[in-house]
């Protein structure tokens, strides 16, 4: 009895704190605290990188800066990794995730997505001599993908007989596995393919199959339609004004595809 009466106020406190944390994402709260916490992943070029001065930079970082400017508050960039994007949102570590967060049905069960602010193709890259016309031609080949990405999900769901999927930690190690010949082909985004040509002009790799056109949006906690509406509003404005397109071209070196919306 005594233990219980001692514990109850603690539980009450925890619940009280818990609810303030959950409601802290609404637009008014962010403005009131004069700071927005945005999760970015700095290990996914060109979305998040560290620049020559070793400062956070990239497409996602530029978009995060744009959002903070619209809110008129200070921006706090919180480093996240591919796997920690959803837990960071759910536990209130960040208000938004702007980290090449592809809009997929499974993720929509856990977090809310804004309209897309960019999109890219997912492609199979292999040396020129390799005959790959469709995903079925990957039969019997070793295919490298970065772990925890849409590439991994789609290629493993394709159930191609005798294809060995090799998972790497990130884009950089996946790409180098292809260059070193550890894998026969890799699944990656078209931006990486362009990097590959630039970095290894002699090795003659080419894009083989496009298996996905994906779009990425800003992720936030579910259950806050007001904040989501604000996000979609500012993204709409910046898309119309061409600012999103400029940011996209600056990093992707290709024009931004037309952005469909929900």
């Amino acid at each position: 009895m005594r233990l219980k009466s001692l514990l109850m106020p603690l539980v009450g406190l925890a619940i009280a704190f818990g609810t303030t944390a959950a409601s802290a994402s609404s637009l008014d709260d962010i403005i009131a605290r004069k700071k927005v916490m945005i999760g970015v992943d700095l290990s996914v070029p060109p979305f998040g990188v560290t620049n020559q001065q070793m400062q956070p930079d990239g497409l996602d970082v530029d978009v995060a800066k744009l959002l903070a400017k619209d809110l008129g508050v200070q921006l706090e960039l919180v480093p996240v990794t591919g796997q920690s994007r959803i837990p960071s949102l759910q536990t209130g570590k960040v208000d938004f995730v702007v980290a090449s967060f592809g809009i997929y049905t499974e993720r929509a069960l856990s977090v809310a997505f804004s309209n897309p602010y960019g999109g890219h193709k997912s492609v199979i890259i292999a040396p020129q001599g390799t005959e790959i016309k469709s995903l079925e031609d990957l039969k019997g080949k070793r295919v490298g993908v970065p772990r925890g990405t849409a590439h991994e999900k789609i290629l493993s769901a394709a159930k191609i007989d005798g294809m060995e999927l090799v998972r790497f930690d990130d884009d950089s190690t996946t790409l180098n596995a292809l260059v070193a010949g550890q894998v026969d082909a890799i699944g990656t985004v078209n931006y990486i393919a362009a990097q590959l040509q630039q970095r290894y002009p002699d090795s003659k790799f080419e894009e083989k199959v496009t298996y996905l056109q994906s779009f990425y949006g800003v992720g936030m906690r579910r259950g806050d339609p007001d904040l989501l509406h604000w996000l979609n509003t500012v993204l709409f404005v910046h898309n119309q004004s061409g600012e999103l397109g400029q940011i996209y071209e600056k990093w992707m070196k290709t024009p931004m595809p037309a952005l469909p919306s929900f």
Binding site: A21, P79, V80, S84, T91, G92, K93, D170, D171
Partner: protein, 218 residues
């Protein structure tokens, strides 16, 4: 096109301070907590001994990765905001305490019972026996494995990279993805780990050697 240059190398070297900070916190915090655990393990109360043992077994059986995730995300659910470094420091402290506790418990137990009995025969208070008779001898015994474990802690701090904390492993990953040169980036990381760990393993070996020599003389 970015290549692996001086700036990139310095970024990794700079991140070394966070690896060392985490190690220091984990070693000091884990040391204090571990000493308490070791003493509880040799207490006269059977209940205390069993409870402590159960706790240590539980922590030792829990992967550090999971512990790190729990420490980072669980407090947020209750509205307590922990930064990545605080969460990593807590997880590493809890983890090292369980292992240091086990190392020191065995050192304490290795002191012959006659030492306890003769000190008690001199009417010394049990705490004084510990302070002046048992612990000084146990410390000498435990020294080599403690320094050895310190090397483990240094390497275990790399696990903090999964919660986005930028210590040298994560710094290497960031540089690798900015330059597309993973081999150079991670070789730099490995070299730095080696520079820090090698002297420590040498000290550990030297201590072991010295302890063995003293043992044979006794």
């Amino acid at each position: 096109m970015r290549t692996f240059g001086t700036n990139e190398f310095l970024f990794i070297v700079y991140a070394l301070q966070w690896t060392l900070t985490l190690t220091a916190i984990a070693f000091v915090g884990g040391g204090i907590l571990g000493a308490a655990l070791a003493l509880l393990r040799i207490s006269t109360s059977r209940t205390l001994r069993t409870l402590t043992s159960a706790y240590m077994q539980f922590i030792q059986g829990l992967p550090l990765l999971i512990l790190m995730f729990i420490c980072y995300y669980a407090p947020s659910l209750f509205g307590f905001e922990l930064s990545a470094i605080t969460a990593a420091a807590i997880a590493l402290t809890i983890n090292s305490a369980a292992f240091l506790g086990a190392i020191w418990e065995s050192a304490l137990r290795a002191i012959p019972k006659a030492q306890w009995e003769s000190a008690e025969a001199l009417a010394m208070h049990p705490l004084k026996v510990l302070r002046f008779v048992i612990v000084p001898q146990a410390v000498r015994l435990a020294m080599p494995s403690t320094v050895g474990f310190l090397v483990q802690i240094i390497k275990q701090t790399s696990i903090a990279s999964i919660i986005g904390f930028i210590e040298i492993t994560r710094a290497g990953q960031l540089v690798s993805n900015a330059t597309f040169e993973p081999l150079k980036s991670f070789l730099a990381v490995a070299a730095l780990y080696f520079i820090v760990c090698f002297p420590l393993t040498q000290i550990s070996l030297w201590l072991e050697h010295r302890a063995a020599k003293r043992g044979s003389r006794a």
